[in-house]
Amino acid sequence: MLEVRDLHVKFHNRDREAVAGVSFTLKDGEILGLVGESGSGKSVTAMSIAGLLPRKKCDYRGDVLVDGEDMLHANRALLRKVQGNKIGVVFQEPMSAMDPLMKVGRQVEEVLDIHTDLSPEERKKRAIQALEDVELPDPEEVYNKYPHELSGGMLQRSMIAAAIVARPSLLLLDEPTTALDVTIQAQILELLKKLNRKHGMSMLFISHNLNVVRKLCKRVAVMQRGVIVEEGSTRNVFFNPQHPYTQHLIECIPARVKVIARKHAEEEAEETGQMQPAEGGQTVSADSGNAASADSGQTGGDRNG
């Protein structure tokens, strides 16, 4: 589905490479979390995938393949075919990411206008359907609203609707919940899970918050200074961090949250009944050092592969 191989991006006005050799793959229907603090290169990676790099202002090399199309070197015509159609993008600030002078509905159906020959009525129908898919209470009404008339959570739902209206196979989510308050954040994460299950959409979820990523993603990659320092199943990375930077990130999470997280992990494990042996090691509530040794092999393996 998505394959990034040895991606390098260096902006002309910076000394250091923003992305310094990143490789990862995303399978069909998978949700991958990309974690790192600001400046770690995660957003630039996402921009490279979406074909949004300001190419005149940077040097870049490597491969970014989306369904076999090379987004990094694609010309404008090819990019146009892929953007919005195969890849949908949701940005951090819904208020500024939307055109303030265009009604929400028109922005949702803009993708259809570009990529399909649907009649205006059909487009509107599809847009309202998309607004319904993201569980907005009154899609018809939202369709005719201007962005400033909606709350942040409703706007972000509309942004997601606009991103999925053409049923892209890949959804890029660049800090989509960072600007929202905690309850709304949880709702949006639930929604994304549902969309992933319902439409089998692959998602790349970018966040600086490891705890948010944990709630949504099965697999996570941690970025620092332009490289992926650790990659593996969320559970392993979260409870059993190998790289000092990941350990540092996890130390920053309050203990109370970690307890809840552990409980979630246990419940999930019981439900799915997967990975019994490793789980066994963890549920004994032994100290994390024990669990670490049990999982370390897997994490390392993931990283190499």
Binding site: I87, A97, P100, E110, V111, I114, H148
Partner: protein, 316 residues
């Protein structure tokens, strides 16, 4: 609708305030109008009668109220130097200036929009400084100096029009418009330079906003983003600027009329100031101020149609 009503109410309040300020100011500075009209040789009795006739023996606020009523019914008082109603003196002159200002405005709109777009497009190129320099030069040339050059080159060398011989609009409308066109260009040029500069920075600023990135992520190319999103978003500052322009070019016309010998409002104003013909000056000042306030209000009303956020009263 509510917004429009509020805006128009504000318009009237400002007009009243401005007219009161002007009336009060001229009431203080104009001394004794009766003497100004009748001259130094008038007897005290004649003066008394004149004051009574002009209503000067009434309280100040009553005088203001009468004057305001007169103003809106077309009675602007009597000119000291011409002994004629001010209204009949200034209306033909206002017409000339209005035509010139409108021509100038059209030139500004037609030229600055494409030039501004182009300047924004070429921003960051190696030759950007050439455009910026030309722009700054156009702003630096004083309008009257430009007028002298234009009237010399087109009037005296090329003989496209005869400077100082302005054809009467009623008799030769085309000739009058051709004459006014050259003056209008001189008024327009510095303003075009400003408009281009403003448009360039507005467009560049808009193109860097987040919603542009969103639009591109949907498959739009830059031209489409410009047409579908950026143009509309740049319209509000542009309309505001054009509203100010409407007001500013009337001020600019004062000097240009002088050079071209155009019998317009500006020239009459300057002459009336020199003659201390206060009723004329007062009427022109208030009319000009109304024009400025009106331009601003019209711009705001248009903007409110474009940007629904303004209805919330963000800027009233």
């Amino acid at each position: 609708m509510k917004y429009a009503a509020r805006r128009i109410l504000a318009l009237f309040i400002t007009m009243i305030l401005v007219s009161f300020l002007a009336f009060a100011a001229f009431h203080i500075i104009s001394g004794d109008p009766a003497r100004a009209i009748l001259g130094m040789n008038a007897t005290e009795k004649q003066l008394e009668m004149m004051r009574h006739e002009l209503g000067l023996d009434k309280p100040f606020l009553v005088q203001y109220f009468n004057w305001l009523l007169g103003f809106f019914s077309g009675n602007l008082g009597i000119s000291y130097s011409y002994r004629q109603p001010v209204a009949s003196l200034i209306i033909p002159k206002l017409k000339v200036t209005l035509v010139m200002v409108l021509i100038s405005f059209v030139i500004i709109v037609i030229l600055s929009l494409p030039l501004g777009l182009r300047a924004a497009q070429k921003s960051g190129s190696r030759f950007e400084w050439i455009g910026t320099t030309i722009n700054q030069l156009c702003m630096a040339v004083p309008a009257f100096f430009l007028s002298i050059l234009v009237s010399y080159v087109f009037g005296i060398i090329l003989k496209v029009f005869t400077p100082g011989d302005f054809p009467k609009m009623e008799r030769d409308l085309f000739g009058a418009i051709r004459y006014l066109f050259f003056a209008a260009v001189c008024i327009a040029i510095p303003r075009i330079a400003m408009a281009v500069r403003m448009l360039k920075s507005t467009l560049i600023e808009e193109m860097e906003k987040d919603y542009v990135r969103t639009a591109i992520s949907r498959g739009n190319d830059r031209v489409e983003v410009l047409k579908k999103h950026v143009m509309k978003n740049s319209l509000v500052p542009t309309i505001t600027f054009l509203g100010q322009t409407m007001a500013e070019i009337v001020g600019g016309s004062i000097v240009v009329e002088q050079v071209f010998g155009i019998p317009g409002m500006g020239r009459f104003l300057v002459a009336s100031i020199s003659n201390r013909d206060y009723p004329v000056v007062e009427a022109l000042v208030v009319i000009l101020a109304f024009w400025v306030i009106l331009s601003g209000t019209v711009a705001d009303l248009i903007n409110q149609k474009i940007d629904p956020r303004l209805k919330l009263g963000g800027r009233a």
